[in-house]
């Protein structure tokens, strides 16, 4: 698979990771759906995706470059998720998977 495809996968994974991190917090979960989040599971899912995203970065680039892409992706994804929660929180509803 080529570099662009791996980077896209890394980006999507990072967006998923940040969304689950956000959903693991009660206040954001409430913006998206009702009930309470199973915080621990969501957070673990988030970390899992962060790691997978890192692996995808490593597939695309030399390790030293991959680290930078990974860190910058996390910043960008966190900002995007923050904005989605503010403007269109319901977009995250499909990801609100694990209720407490």
């Amino acid at each position: 698979m080529n570099e662009a495809a791996w980077l896209t996968i890394a980006f999507v994974l990072m967006l998923l990771a940040m969304s689950w991190f956000a959903l693991s917090l009660k206040s954001h979960w409430k913006q998206v759906t009702d009930g309470k989040p199973a915080s621990r599971i969501l957070r673990s899912l988030g970390w899992f995706c962060v790691m997978l995203s890192g692996l995808a970065c490593l597939q695309a680039d030399h390790a030293s470059m991959a680290v930078l892409v990974w860190a910058m992706l996390s910043a960008t994804a966190a900002f995007i998720v923050g904005q989605v929660l503010s403007y269109r929180p319901t977009l995250l509803r499909p990801l609100a998977l694990f209720r407490a």
Partner: protein, 570 residues
């Protein structure tokens, strides 16, 4: 100053350092973000150079002829020659008769043009141990060897780029020091910011834009600061590292000078490269053959690559040697894998050994900031990081004003009014100055003498005008209202962005349909699209500001009604 808690002390530090140095940091972040695409902005500003990046051309057939044509810079000659020359030893050599001692050429994977330069030696130097070089530089089209006119300013790499680390104030390196201090206190502001932010993880994704203006501004400030915290930290930190030994703490030229000189001599001996000219003229061997050999050796090390930097020392002398460095487009760390050749025999004198761990960490840190690598996606992520930094600083200013303007209005203080006017100047004014410079570049005919100088004047005067405008319109802030200059200048950004793109189309024929579809040239298309994106964002912001002002005035009218109603009741 007495504080009840560390947190309060940190808040004080963050507020005041952030305010004072924020104005400088805003320039660093914004023009730093533009510098990610400095070469592309150069292409936009100098249409004659809109062609594809070229590898290093043949030295023997093309570069040698260009090197021989380079003249020592007149201003540098007038300034430095009297200092270097020993009047008791002989006549001062006229400028055009200075003999060349050093040649260099530099290119990257993003450069269609090639930068070259020569260092000329002074025949009767006052300090025989010194370097004593008078320089001359040129930029050529590597396909033909023709020079790119000197009076065309490379707005990206020679204006926006140095602006972000020197503010283009070169007098006694003043700008470098101001930026250095700001960079250092950026680190302090980051640490104190994290300290005072109680819920750093719990509120990482929080932007309550429907709450009060002050709340939503603070949310945005926190979010843009925290999500890109590693970026902010590493760019301030590596920026300092890059310059610390040259400008900020040059101990090797002051306190440790003797040690430094001794070390240099040992290193030179170890390297086996001649430190001085032999004084015996000799013909130069084929440099193209050396380049071929260097490429062969890199390929043998499994790191095949192009030449990025090439330097010939002691030109025309028996001790001449040629250093050839690899273009580091495939890695972060800045390592040239230099190979050095005897200039007369063409034999390899030395291959640079791999760097030690400490050196490798340094290479990586400098490399991640200077980004010589070829990675368009990461470049854009860097732009996003830089713009998040700008948003963080801008919202910091706004929060400062929002928090205080009611109090100041009651007390009759002008404090927030002054800060707000400066904020307008550094946020919208800076963007206007940059776009105005690009627009002027497309309106001033290419043949105009001193074109680049005029563009610089446009840049500074537009920026100064934006300040005057912000100051002139600032009165409402003292009454706890908002300065209309914010909206007016944002409208101007929206307008100028479109004007710049149209001006580019009319003056060069390069419109977006051509640069994206029919004859793709992404450097120019990218600048055009960024300008249009900037316009669009500015337009949306204006709309948002209008809506906010409306609700605000409605609220105020409502409050007045209640107030008048109450008085009527009494």
């Amino acid at each position: 100053m007495q504080f009840n808690s560390t947190r309060q002390g940190m808040a004080w530090l963050h507020t005041w350092l952030g305010l004072i140095l924020g104005f400088v940091l805003m320039v660093c972040f914004f023009f730093g973000a533009l510098s990610v695409f400095d070469r592309e902005i150069d292409r936009w500003a100098i249409p004659e150079t809109r062609f594809d990046p070229q590898p290093m051309p043949s030295f023997d057939n093309l570069l040698m002829g260009v090197f021989e044509r380079i003249e020592p810079d007149e201003a540098e000659y007038n300034r430095m020659m009297p200092k270097y020359h020993d009047a008791s030893a002989g006549e001062m050599t006229p400028r055009l008769e200075l003999p060349a001692d050093e040649y260099w050429a530099y290119t990257t994977h993003r450069d269609p043009v090639l930068r070259m330069g020569a260092g000329f030696r002074v025949p009767f130097p006052a300090d025989t141990e010194g370097h004593n070089h008078i320089h001359g530089n040129t930029t050529i089209d590597p396909r033909t060897g023709a020079s790119v006119p000197d009076h065309h300013l490379k707005i990206g790499s020679e204006w926006f780029y140095p602006l972000h680390y020197s503010l283009n104030i070169n007098w006694n390196f003043l700008g470098f020091f101001i930026v250095g201090i700001a960079g250092f206190f950026m680190l302090v502001a980051l640490i104190s910011g994290v300290w005072i932010h109680r819920k750093i993880f719990r509120e990482l994704f929080t932007f309550r834009r429907h709450k009060s203006k002050q709340r939503s501004i603070l949310d945005m400030h926190n979010m843009t600061g925290v999500v890109a915290l590693p970026f902010h930290f590493f760019f301030a930190f590596t920026g300092l590292i890059i310059f610390v030994a040259f400008y900020y703490m040059p101990v090797t030229n002051t306190m440790l000078e003797p040690l430094h000189s001794a070390q240099q001599e040992i290193e030179a001996q170890e390297m086996g490269l001649p430190h001085k000219r032999a004084g015996v003229t000799a013909p130069m061997a084929s440099v193209d053959a050396m380049v071929a050999e260097a490429k062969r050796r890199w390929a043998a090390r499994d790191m095949a690559g192009e030449v990025g930097f090439l330097q010939m020392h002691h030109v025309g002398d028996q001790n001449a040697y040629v250093s050839i460095y690899r273009a580091g487009s495939d890695r972060v760390a800045l390592v040239g894998e230099g190979i050095h050749f005897n200039g007369v025999t063409g034999e390899v004198l030395r291959e640079d050994p791999p760097h030690s761990l400490a050196e490798a960490i340094g290479d990586f840190l400098a490399g991640l900031h200077l980004q010589h690598f070829e990675h368009w996606f990461l470049r854009w992520l860097y732009v996003i990081g830089g713009l998040l930094g700008c948003a963080c600083i801008a919202t910091g200013f706004m929060f400062f004003v929002e928090k205080r303007k009611q109090q100041h209005a009651k007390a009759g203080s002008q404090g927030s009014r002054v800060v707000d006017a400066f904020a307008v100047t550094t946020v919208t004014g800076m963007v206007i100055a940059a776009i105005a410079m690009l627009t002027a570049n497309r309106f001033i005919p290419a043949a105009t003498e001193g074109k680049g100088e005029i563009e610089k004047i446009v840049f500074w005067s537009v920026w100064a005008l934006s300040f005057l405008h912000a100051a002139w319109r600032s009165a409402p802030v003292a009454l706890a209202k908002s300065n209309p200059a914010w909206k007016e200048q944002t409208m101007l950004i929206a307008l100028l962005g479109v004007v710049a793109v149209i001006a580019n189309w009319i003056s060069t024929g390069d419109h977006l349909i051509k640069t994206i579809f029919t004859d793709p040239y992404w450097a120019v298309a990218g600048v055009d699209l960024s300008l249009l994106a900037g316009s669009l964002i500015a337009l949306l912001t204006v709309k948002k500001m209008s809506a906010m002002n409306e609700t605000q005035s409605k609220q105020e009218a409502g409050q007045e009604e209640i107030a008048t109603g109450e008085t009527a009741y009494e």
